[in-house]
Amino acid sequence: MQMTLRTAIAEGLHRLPTPAHALLPPAQRADLRHRLGRYYPWEQGFDLAPPILRAGEASGPPDFVGVGVPLAGAAWWYRMVVDHPGVSCREDVPMGRHYLAHFCTTRFGEEEAERYHGWFPRRAGTITGEWTPGYLGCPWVAPLLAVAAPDARLLVILRDPVERLRLQLARSAADRSDHIGEHIADAVDRGFYAEQLRRLLQFFPVEQVLILQYEQCVADPDGRLAATYRFLGLDDGHRPVIPRRPDGGTSPPAPVLDRDTRSRLVDIYASDVADLATLVPGLDLSLWPASAG
């Protein structure tokens, strides 16, 4: 009885208009959501059971997996990839499955790998995949991916690390009150691209990974998209109707960094950016003025 009442209250609060929601601190909002059994795919508690196959669909390992990075246009690029007629994409399945990120401390065997495959329904003659930008920052994911989808082609889209950091700071400003250092450290660490890529490359040959630069994608979307299609084994003549520019989304404005702060951050990233340039021959550092020394 008590639980029913609590659930009813929680349901009522959850349905309040957004401004009323905003009165609750983020942690309490999350508690409320969890009480209703609602979890985001990146939260422990999310139901990992795959979606039910529709008529004419089969499931199997993903043909491609985008593994990075957050706030670098991955959602924009994914939409253009799945717009291709040779790609299956169900609207009710999230772009980022986050599946592999759940197995940091738990068993991952054949059963778990098969369940992962269930998350990739596709029509005959098409390919399919996912893009979880947070995978690259979860060091335990690469070995799991190598087991569950050894033949998948991997996609990574990178963006000027200081710019990316600035965007994440804006995004996390609301919920970083509990441990400010940890939130900033997460934002900083996800910008050490070379370090994270080197870990990935211990499990996948470099030919199996396409590393895109967000700024190049913005400057030459058709060219980079054709290259992406070719990398995925798709006909590169397709031209999607999606805008050739990422929309800004509803992100809060990113903080302006003063010169001193910026130069401290550039120092933090300098050696990783230099390493990245050796790892990714096509990287155009002139497009990353924010991180140039």
Binding site: A30, H98, T106, G109, C138, W140, I180, I184, L257, T261
Partner: protein, 305 residues
């Protein structure tokens, strides 16, 4: 805007946060402890009380007591979370040559807040204010999070260039299990980001390389929790010597605090994946600091040599 916490109220702010230091009557205390960590912090924040690692914490230093002077810290412990640092700090603070005020948290967390904002001379002096000491004594802090924050070493080199640095390490897989379990018990969201943070904190060599760009190796003492637990007297004597202190025999030598706590259960396969993930960093660590005895880290002993 929430009210600022003044120096006098600071101790109570810390006290309320730290269960062992709480002062209210036991009934109120028990009731408060019965609340979930998230509700506890919501209550405390509403009345303007923040822990040093929280966004709303007031970085203004406490007022020095009569006879105290302030200045840069003589030592700064920079790592690691769940490595036994509270135990070791208390042993250091027990030395008559060390000044440590009960009302100031061992973990100042000062630099946590300053990674992405301007940092000037005012910030340097404000940090010094956090280190009151009597003439003829030394003082310092131990914020285990610093090692994992890439922006701290350069700020610390600017603020306390002559400080001696202490790092207390522990088997990275065991540290990860304690660390994640601790963060979740403190109300952190159970997400992949929280797990990723706990994993990243175990790449010790990677983090120490960064510190070594700003501090010479002979100014850093890397201790190993497992060695301290096995031979506390010997390791403590070495720590005192490193800090320039004469030998001393404290009370309660063999009682690590805060280390055991809960440890997250882990699947054997997942453990092996973490061991593989850390193996090259551990090898790098031993090359960097040969006093690390890998045989005390059974997860990694097989990887040695």
């Amino acid at each position: 805007m929430l009210p600022k916490v003044d120096g006098g109220r600071l101790s109570r702010c810390v006290a309320l946060w730290h269960p062992d230091w709480m002062r209210p009557p036991s009934v109120a205390r028990a009731a408060f402890r019965g609340l979930s960590p998230r509700t506890r912090s919501a209550v405390l924040h509403r009345i303007g009380r923040f822990a040093p690692w929280e966004d709303g914490f007031d970085l203004s230093p406490p007022a020095p007591a009569p006879g105290e002077v302030t200045g840069p810290p003589d030592f700064v412990g920079i790592g690691v979370q769940k490595g036994g640092t509270s135990w070791w700090y208390e042993l250091i603070a027990d030395h008559p040559g060390v000044w440590a005020r009960d009302d100031i948290h061992k973990e100042r967390h000062y630099f946590d807040h300053l990674g992405t904002v301007p940092f000037g001379d005012d910030d340097v002096h404000r940090y010094w204010g956090w280190f009151p000491r009597r003439e003829g004594t030394i003082t310092g802090e131990w914020t285990p999070d610093y090692l994992g924050y890439p922006w701290v070493a350069p700020l610390l080199a600017r603020t306390a260039p002559d400080a001696r640095l202490l790092v207390l390490l522990r088997d990275p897989v065991e540290r990860f299990r304690s660390g994640l379990s601790f963060r979740l018990s403190m109300g952190a969201a159970d997400t992949e980001a929280t797990a990723a943070d706990a994993v990243r904190q175990g790449f010790y060599a990677r983090a120490l390389h960064r510190v070594l760009r700003y501090f010479p190796a002979d100014r850093i003492r890397v201790l190993q929790y497992e060695q301290c637990a096995r031979d506390p007297g010997g390791e403590l004597a070495a720590t005192y010597r490193f800090l320039g202190l004469p030998d001393h025999r404290p009370r309660g030598l063999r009682h690590p605090v805060n280390v055991s706590g809960g440890k997250l259960p882990i699947d054997p396969g997942a453990r092996q994946r973490l061991v593989d993930l850390y193996a090259s960093d551990v090898a790098d660590l031993v090359a960097l600091f040969p006093t690390i005895d890998v045989s005390l880290w059974p997860n990694f002993a097989a990887h040695e040599g």
